[in-house]
Symmetry: C2
Subunit: 222 residues, 2 copies
DNA sequence: ATCCCAAACGGACCGCGGTCCAGTTTTCTT
DNA sequence: AAGAAAACTGGACCGCGGTCCGTTTGGGAT
């Protein structure tokens, strides 16, 4: 019903490279050669959106407002980014890619080279920090319940955790377990705990380390 | 900004008894004495909504449609249930209360009387079954990211898990851990895993038992 | 029986996300 | 250089969630 026909010629790969960085294969699809004017408008839109967020918070970012601020038609915004979530995710894309790169090729313990459990610990702490930085944006960019688990960034992170988990606890159902671990790092949860329950970041980190220890049946560090 | 003034005289306790069953205190606020016509319309609306869901699925339940089907003004729907989520949650309320009752006073291992870890296991399996039954409704009733963790039913479930957890693993941060456990039982996740990844219910249950075992550092049953 | 007012009502109204399509611009082909 | 297909554009348009406010009504007080 909702996926009947693409509203536009292409539903458009939403946030730039959609499948990018498929776990190890360095293949990037790169921008699929947008037309000159399209590329220019895309940049304008992203810049306008960022400005609006800075000024009025993520809630004030209306598709119409972004279009107007970029001196562009409303239809253009949707053509380029698919929907509001797509636009917001595109704004997160840069930091997302940097994070992915750090996971795949950065220095240990985040990147390869450290033992898996240690990488898991580092992963969670890094996620927590990143999440706190961009909290409102991450919150606003959350897709609807049906798409939440199929969004590209999420899939990547889950794959990564599942991989580490497979190494650390080969006897477990790492696919299911990875969902559980990732849920602890959910933006909405972090938001709730820090803003509404007064839980300190330190406690969150401790909670993550403890969780990893329990799940992998190892002893907590230090 | 969004919580400035209640849109209506009362934001209205959304889904009937809001705080009901505060962990052990048998206090129920009961309906705060709705006027006769209000009560009648409330019933009509719930019935109409249920019918619409049965006919067109949860997605087809428009506030306007519900109002029309109940021969009632649109404003009335919002006055009574606050917003769309409120209406949907009200539809789940009955099953919700039954479940709460089973947890608080039902026979073991779900209710009191069994050791905490065993109750946790039973809790998860029961949740999984209940979730599968009402999947689409649960999915549609999911509140926005900001309110997801403050909704009354969620709070109750979390409190329950935290309680069991405190008994089973007194040395852990049971508040944080309870969020993690509950996340495994999230409707959107269950939906994703079963519908889109072809994960069988049996595997989900096994995953839960394993998760409980790891988190409580006990051995898996059987 | 009558009065009175808080509570409830209902539908006009608004803003936003999302769609559509007629017209314009770019780029490819020959 | 010219023509045509493909890609892109913009703004009118739609439906829905949510709000507002003038009107009606139930039910306690007298």
């Amino acid at each position: 019903m909702s996926a009947a026909l693409p509203p536009f010629p292409k539903p458009q790969e939403t946030t730039g490279p959609p499948e990018l960085l498929q776990l190890g294969t360095g293949i990037e699809k790169d921008e699929p050669c947008l037309r000159a004017d399209a590329a220019r408008n895309r940049a304008r839109l992203l810049e306008a959106a960022a400005r609006l967020i800075a000024e009025h918070g993520a809630a004030g970012v209306t598709m119409e407002a972004v279009a107007a601020a970029a001196s562009v038609g409303k239809g253009t915004v949707f053509r380029r980014f698919g929907d509001r979530t797509g636009l917001l995710m595109a704004l997160l894309d840069h930091s997302e890619k940097k994070f992915q790169a750090a996971l795949l090729g950065g220095p240990p313990p985040l990147g390869p080279g450290a033992p898996p459990v240690e990488r898991l610990r580092a992963f969670g702490c890094a996620m927590l920090r990143r999440c706190v930085e961009e909290l409102d944006l991450q919150l606003a960019a959350e897709p609807s319940a049906e798409r939440r688990y199929t969004a590209a960034p999420r899939r990547f992170l889950r794959g990564h955790v599942a991989l580490l988990l497979r190494q650390a606890v080969p006897d477990a159902d790492s696919e299911l377990l990875s969902h559980t671990l990732l849920a602890y790092l959910d933006a909405a949860l972090i938001h709730h705990l820090t803003e509404q329950c007064g839980v300190s970041p330190a406690r969150l980190e401790a909670g993550w380390l403890d969780l990893v220890a329990r799940v992998t049946r190892t002893r907590p560090p230090a």
